[in-house]
């Protein structure tokens, strides 16, 4: 069995936070929308604090022009080499720039967000504290749509 399948089987039965309803934001047309990336890969600039181990609920704001960020997610259980070859496979910032240039999306957000996965099963702090704080920063930048990329 592949390592990916082992991980998928392990995660399939983990307890997850319960949400009884589905929130629903209605964005403007994509050609007018400001789009951000939110990743759980733990990306950060070299001059930003590293993510600590399991349970670090903090986030980093990444500027639109940042490239070659460090992959700070601490797990050994995913392919880390692809990101070294091409950051877009985790953080498709160059693809968003292309979509903004050809008018498919309205704009690339000035800032993007990285959390680190490997959270406690309750995820309470992200849900109640750091998540809303990051969302407020994106809203302040006029973000309408977020693409969420896990590793």
């Amino acid at each position: 069995m592949s390592s990916d399948q082992v991980m998928r089987d392990m995660m399939a039965n983990l307890p997850v936070p319960e949400f009884e309803t589905t929130p629903w934001a209605s964005p403007p047309p994509l050609s007018e929308a400001t789009v951000a990336i939110v990743t759980s890969a733990g990306l950060h600039r070299a001059d930003q604090d590293r993510f600590e181990g399991r349970g670090d609920t903090s986030y980093r704001m990444l500027d639109r022009g940042d490239r070659e960020l460090i992959l700070g997610h601490w797990s050994s259980n995913f392919d880390r080499a692809a990101y070294v070859s091409d950051h877009n496979v985790v953080y498709p910032i160059d693809r968003l720039e292309e979509l903004a240039a050809d008018g498919t999306i309205g704009a690339v957000a000035p800032r993007h967000v990285a959390f680190a996965g490997n959270q406690p099963d309750t995820v309470s702090e992200v849900r109640l504290d750091t998540g809303p704080a990051a969302a407020a920063e994106l809203r302040a930048d006029g973000v309408d749509v977020a693409i969420l990329t896990p590793v």
Partner: protein, 227 residues
Amino acid sequence: MCVLAHVLEDAGIATVVLASMRPVAERMNVPRVLYCEFPLGRPLGMPDNARFQHGVLGAAFDLLNAPSGPVLEDYPEVVEAVETPLACALPPRYDPDIAPSIDEAQGLRAAYNRAVARRGATEVGRAVDADGVTGALADLERVAAGEHWKEVYGPRLDTIAIAHDIRAYYQEAALELAGGPPPGARQAEAWFYEETEAGKTLAAARDALTEQEAPSGITFYMQPVGR
């Protein structure tokens, strides 16, 4: 990611999750999910393939047209990991007086330096930088040879970060040496664990730590599951 989707939508930002774990997404009432059966660590599927990445993003943005949710769709293209080791020659044994892993790591330094110069960044540095890799290997050799980890490291065991740095150093050097398009997922990992002396040292040290009943939360993350 699914929790953040809820949080962002509550704040008025429409989200699409490129999910890698379908059963998790299914249980969390997430507004819009594109399930992508790609190797873990590659949410856009294929490195150095803008056409493929745009295909994924296009499918994700299409979900914004749904009038209500939750919406969960499967991306039609599946990408499988490749478990065969990357084809990358290792340096010949140079100094018979030092451990093979340390000799090997020194031999890869020039390739590692070229890789860092090319990319302008490195993943090495969580616990040790490139200059510290041989020392980190020397410590792991001691653990593998049977010394107790507290004798080697003191009270704080940081071997997840140490293992990360050694593996990152090797993988960055290997990608540089192999050249060509990016390898399949898990190929660099397979090369490191199956073909390098450092990979064998790391595995032996992990086994020794397990026998010494080092914290399982640390030994578990020193290597990918199944290795």
